[in-house]
Symmetry: C2
Subunit: 502 residues, 2 copies
């Protein structure tokens, strides 16, 4: 190791440590912070973001990166230099004042969003969102990567992705999903005698017992409690201040068992990825997910491909009956499998079924892309949202809380983030199909609660590769082909074909 | 406002925001962090400490301070310059590497201490403490304030205090307390028929009901829950990431109602001070306590002068009986007052009565002063601790967990901190005596649970003055005289004279 290389690593580790501290500030704001602490927290987040930005833009870091880039580097070190360059290149294009303004504005907007959602008070949130959109447009213009403003933001979450490539992919997906939705809805209508299979899981489910179930499923999935936590927040999320401190949040709904359980499984999928990042890369910029699409593939694989499978309920039905004897006394695995796979156009993205979920995403993608381009304004969002929901899902929110106010993302400045959810669904199905080929007894293992071999496969194929490879490279290496909609659509056709007797 | 003044304030606010972030990292480590997250947290704390130190040592800050010091300043602005100078003067004497080494070493030592205390494993903790002591001695030598190494550390917590002045004060206190202890112990021995009045509050007290009581007392004291939290940690403490986010922790012992209740009241006293710092000073270096002795005066005033008074139990006995009907069915205010005022030499500082408490402090003061001077070594601590306990209290710890390992302070690098507890007791009694003069119906108010006027008095006299004045100035202004042992000793003689019929 050259002296330069050591100095570069020291600087990169400091940047990583400052990020970890910023992650804690954000987690704490969602889970712990009392309301009157919000303004100071916004300033603290801004101060940290400012320091980190200053460090990234330091000419000495620049010199070290370029000095080390000239060395003969192995693949890992080359990836470290590549990611250091990438972070620096984005940072130097953005003024420090914009960075701190954004940190403070989004911190305040998140708080305003939480209150606005509670009261369904769009006018209370709109000025905050206008401010955030304005700042994000300035940021996108400064970064200027890709063919349109949106690309600069998208690229931060899904390196290399471009809106113009996603648009046709999403259009195809929407068409196929609309077809499938129509078929399933027709079949369900013809089978009215079946009633609503989901009614089984709505009613009265004590939160303490729900939490117990969540914790047991989490343990069975292999989540290491000595390197993480599970808490409650308004909007479930996962964040890691380090690979030894991976924090999941969930949200229990006493009237619906599905809400908390699947939020926990989803976030645990994210958490297992974070806990599986390799120790030897810790502190470097490649100790990160390949992309947020890949991150989401892990959460969706566990939530949908495993958690909403018949085999999952073969394993967990007896335990669920014991925990909720009044409600589930006569429920078998088949009943529970049906109850968690009701297909029905609905208002809330995070509670959507596997067929309609991506339709929620496509709407958000189109709206935020147009916002960034300046083609629409924040004031138009509620009307455009409602019209979009009507058009693609045939439902209209009665209140903004169930419409445009439902997600925290825009308040947090996360434009270009939603598409990674749809990509995650596609990656999840493609990875799962491959895992099923390589682990032929996978269904049987899942039905016995033995998901260790699957976790091991994900660890080896995906987690330990961290950000050494791009999402596209990872996909080709793991599955032998480029990302495609087919494994996802096949999975849906097979599963819902069976469930609805198509 | 000159341009320089605005630039100075901007820099001071950033320093304050970085401190707030560091406070959160430390709080989270004690209350939330999973064990495997500790090493990364140590690095994160070190990174923040390094950044903050670098900012304090920036020649531009220096230039701004000196430019502004030349202006005609009002009292508040002059105090801001004075405190900015003080922080800078300390910082520039210490190498950045020592700052980050200390941050990391103390973060790791705290974790080691928690494990070592649990297992009473002194050898597991000793190497960490040796490292911390070594670093603190280097820090003290670098700062070089006062007549001996200890003074440099003491001055950080109690500006202007010197070990050579505290030593005779503490010697006098020890003598008086030993006398009083002997008198009370003799009286108690003569009254064996009374049994142990404390037995009333030992037994089985459901933690949920204890938490309920704690929360009700907290609310009655005037703690604003929208600007703070109450959590549980191994070692109760208070920390504030801002005046809108004041975090108390407590610790419940199912077998002893006193432990959790008085920990909560004590920390709430600290918390009320933090919540009472004036909004208009927020973000400046004078938005802080006058000294830790003054801070501790607030916790001890509420804990002992109010919480352990007969009037407190006149108010709270009915509620305690309802919450713990089995144990307290026949307990009246007098019984409860006696139960929380048992004088008995014991091993654990934070559970000590008002007479013996300061004896615990004097021992720690003497040991840490000698450690810093290099007169004793870490390896000698357990034996010296036990000998000191025997000599001043007549009791000997059976395990190091109940002896030298009981406090987190040294692991955290907090040498020079303990004396502020004894000073706090003295200030508390002197302030309370003054409050009783100015609020003649104070006992009556307390017995009716109306402590609002007292809080208001503390707010006006102490809290809003923040760090504008020194502890000594504050004491003279509020009470008309310098700090003295007499109000404290008078309080003890009056109270225990009554209780033990002296």
């Amino acid at each position: 190791m050259s002296a330069e290389w050591n100095r570069l690593l020291t600087r990169l580790r400091e940047l990583n440590d400052l990020s970890g501290a910023a992650t804690l500030l954000a987690w704490d704001q969602e889970v712990m912070l009392p309301p009157r602490g919000v303004p100071a927290r916004a300033r603290q987040s801004a101060a940290l973001a400012g320091v980190r930005h200053e460090r990234l833009c330091d000419p000495e870091l620049d010199a070290l990166i370029e000095a080390c880039a000239g060395d003969r580097l192995d693949a890992v070190d080359a990836a470290i230099v590549r990611e250091a360059r990438r972070a620096r290149d984005r940072a130097v294009k953005v003024d420090r004042s914009l960075v701190t303004e954004l940190a403070e504005a989004t911190s305040l907007a998140q708080q305003a969003w939480a209150q606005a959602r509670e009261r369904s008070d769009w006018p209370g949130f709109a000025p905050h969102l206008t401010r955030v959109v304005d700042l994000k447009r300035r940021e996108a213009a400064a970064i200027g990567c890709g063919a349109e403003p949106y690309d600069a933001l998208l690229d931060d979450f899904e390196p290399g992705a471009r809106a113009a490539d996603l648009a046709p992919l999403f259009a195809r997906l929407r068409m196929e999903l609309a077809d499938l939705l129509a078929t399933v809805t027709t079949a369900a209508r013809g089978d009215k005698a079946a009633g609503d299979p989901g009614a089984l899981l709505t009613g009265d489910f004590a939160v303490a017992a729900q939490e117990q179930l969540s914790r047991e499923v989490l343990a069975a999935m292999g989540f290491d409690p000595s390197a993480g936590r599970l808490d409650v927040s308004a909007h479930p999320f996962t964040s890691a201040t380090s690979r030894g401190d991976v924090r999941l949040t969930t949200r229990y709904d006493q009237r619906d068992l599905r809400v908390g359980l699947y939020a926990t499984i989803h976030e645990a999928g994210h958490g297992l990825y974070e806990q599986g990042l390799p120790a030897e890369l810790e502190g470097t910029p490649v100790s990160d997910c390949a992309s947020l699409g890949i991150h989401e593939s892990q959460s969706r694989l566990w939530e949908n491909l495993i958690g909403r499978s018949r085999e999952f309920w073969t394993c967990w039905a007896p335990r669920a009956r014991r925990l909720f004897p009044a409600a589930l006394a006569h429920a078998d695995a088949e009943d529970l499998h049906r109850a968690v796979n009701v297909v029905r156009p609905s208002l809330i993205r995070i509670e959507a079924d596997e067929i309609t979920y991506n339709l929620h995403i496509v709407l958000r993608f189109e709206l935020e892309r147009a916002l960034l381009a300046g083609d629409i304004q924040v004031a138009q969002l509620p009307a455009l949202w409602d019209a979009g929901m009507r058009q693609s899902l045939g439902v209209t929110p009665a209140r903004d809380a169930e419409g445009v106010l439902q997600d925290i993302h825009w308040a947090s400045g996360l434009f270009g983030y939603f598409p990674t959810y749809a990509l995650g669904n596609l990656y999840a199905a493609q990875f799962h199909a491959q895992a099923a080929t390589e682990l032929p007894d996978l269904p049987d293992l899942v039905s016995r609660g033995q998901t260790g071999p699957l976790l091991d496969w994900l660890r080896r194929k995906i987690h330990v590769r961290a950000r050494l490879w791009s999402a596209a490279e990872l996909c080709r290496d793991v599955t032998g082909r480029d990302l495609d909609t087919e494994p996802f659509l096949s999975h849906l056709r097979r599963k819902f074909g069976q469930l609805y007797g198509l």
